[in-house]
């Protein structure tokens, strides 16, 4: 075990994958200079572990700023023998390539009767919570969950980032990885040896018996903090991190809610048709009779993200807003008026 940051763990998984299979390449804007910290050992060409030095320009390729062309080329390359990892930097840049994601990446295998395999990973950073304004602050994973044919991961810890990315690169299906910048500096002990976390398997971040909180991406540490606060008041909260949104570990969610009888879902994306809406519908359809209280979603409102720090910080689920939702489902009195995000 060694202490890794979330970003360091992604870099480690990419290095492992590049070492393990010559068909793996990394393309994207600024990957040669390791601008985002996942394609090198440090910020300098001379630092140990620099990907360009290690793998050469044939396998580490800076791209022009041409998202549609990049995503389409990665799809074509994946259909013909390569296993590209595409670094799209900001997740809001994915919109530039919507046609390729929706019409080619997601549909080709199906439309062509299984002739195509699409072993490609599209990584992007959800740059929210950092006062970058509406264009850079998106959390767009729910709209891609609505496109059959894509698989989606949203790791919340360094270990999950490493193990899930290895599985993603080894998968023969197209995978979108949504990485929250708020988690980049998170650190924990991670196995420095190769390991794979299977897609579609949730992680129980904290066990409990009174309430289930299903939390996604940067809402996971907030949910765990809320659970610890509630534990001091005698409420036992279980926190489930799906880690993979497509395919979703339905069984893990249903098992937990069947046990606790109460569900709060927390995620940083917009409210309408979000992952939280899907998870709530799943529970309501499958185990309505197990519920002792209405389901509560804690999400960003259906509102664009404002620039001013005083405004933006109220937009996403926090320990306080998640704790308030937990109090409501267990019938505890609210400590204070809850902000608009609930």
């Amino acid at each position: 075990m060694t202490v890794m940051s979330y970003l360091g763990a992604i870099g480690a998984a990419q290095r492992e994958a590049m070492d393990a299979d010559e068909r793996v390449i990394i393309i994207g804007e600024d990957v040669e200079a390791n601008v985002y910290g996942t394609t090198g050992g440090g910020k300098s060409r001379s630092d140990k572990g620099d990907f360009l030095q290690r793998y050469g320009k044939n396998r580490i390729r800076n791209t022009p700023i041409s998202e549609e062309g990049i995503v389409g080329a990665a799809a074509g390359a994946a259909m013909t023998g390569l296993r590209p990892i595409v670094d799209l930097s900001y997740s809001s840049f994915l919109y530039m390539a919507m046609d390729q994601f929706v019409n080619q990446v997601a549909k080709n295998r199906y439309m062509f009767g299984g002739q195509a395999s699409m072993p490609v990973v599209f990584r992007s950073a959800m740059f929210y919570g950092l006062n970058t304004g509406a264009h850079h602050s998106d959390r767009p994973y729910p709209m891609f969950m609505n496109v059959p044919g894509l698989k989606i991961i949203a790791p919340a810890t360094p270990a999950d980032a490493k193990g899930l990315l290895r599985s993603a690169v080894d998968s023969d299906d197209p995978i979108l990885s949504f990485e929250a910048c708020l988690l980049w500096s998170a650190k924990e002990d991670v196995d420095e040896n190769e390991f794979w976390i299977p897609l579609g398997v949730a992680r129980t971040a904290r066990e409990g018996t009174d309430v289930t909180v299903v939390a996604i991406s940067s809402s996971v540490p907030e949910a765990v903090a809320a659970a610890e606060e509630l534990a001091r008041e005698g409420v036992s909260v279980e926190v489930i991190d799906p880690r993979t949104l497509v395919p979703l570990d339905r069984d893990a969610i249903l098992r937990s809610v069947a046990k606790t009888g109460r569900l709060v879902v927390a995620e940083p994306a917009h409210r309408t048709c979000g992952a939280a809406a899907e998870i709530s519908a799943l529970v309501a359809e499958e185990i309505f009779d197990s519920l002792k209280a209405p389901i509560i979603r804690v999400t960003a409102p259906d509102m664009q993200i404002p620039f001013s720090p005083s405004l933006e910080k109220q937009m996403y689920p926090t320990k306080a807003t998640i704790a308030a939702a937990i109090r409501r489902v267990v019938d505890l009195p609210a400590l204070q008026p809850v902000a608009a995000a609930v």
Partner: protein, 327 residues
Amino acid sequence: MAELARDTLREMQLRMLRIRAFDERASKMVKRGHIPGTVHTSIGQEAQVVGATMALGAGDYMSGNHRSHGHPIGKGSPLGPLMAELVGKATGVCKGKGGSLHLADFAVGSLGESGIVGSSIPIANGAALSSKVLNNGKVALAFFGDGAANQGVLYESMNMAGVWDLPMIFLCENNQYALSTPAHTVTSGIISERAAGFGMPGIRVEEGQDVLAVYDAVSEAVARARAGDGPTLVEVMTYRYNEHSEGLRLGTDYRNAGEREAWLKKDPIVLFRHYLASQGFSDDELDGLQATALAEVDAAVAFSDASPYPDLSVAFDDLYTDKESAA
């Protein structure tokens, strides 16, 4: 121009005849309701299709567009599974899940058509990237029309192919019209000249109804790509005889008077037949090619007729490589 073997010349004519016969039959089948939806025929464009596909090697890649029955036929696909796909049968080349707009036959390097104009261009570019990274000597070609020549993704792809020296051919099938819109009314300048902006050769084949002219131009581009000298844009001037799609009846006459008739006079199959006769092919032999193509299409239709429709379970296959991941 390289001297071509008689077998190659014969094969060119046979493949053009196959495409003509296949699309004429498909057109009839749409009108009779035997093919669901619609089809977009390549009738009139056979020289451009066969000249390009036969300039490629068996292992080379190509991507198509919505008017793409001819591309896999030109590259050597058997007709039966293509026809069965148009009808929606289980034996279709895409198991009945693609249809006319999404034919693909990976066995001959056909990476698929696209119903979205321009959308498959970067797919071929990616195949060229594969060839470059894996150093396997393959080249890739993207077919697109004059309409797609105004999609931004073409230029993103040309730039990437240029900067990475990809073994890539951008082949513009300029059939003069995007549905009813004359290309020159929505296209600034000459398409092939746009290549200069990307530092790559741009070639315009004015005699696009001459299969040998197309073959020579594309062969040169293929040789350049295979030698590691990068991409080429080839614009082929051609003409579609039928409407944009079969069954489409437009109230307006968007073509110039006499234009279609003029193009019919330089029909690619008739032109090439004259050439072959001048090269010593007998009338019997040339008639025989036509009979062969018609018989192959008859057999393809019979194959389709004898094939079952897919079982409903097939609708839930092939989304992912593992069935469990589908909801």
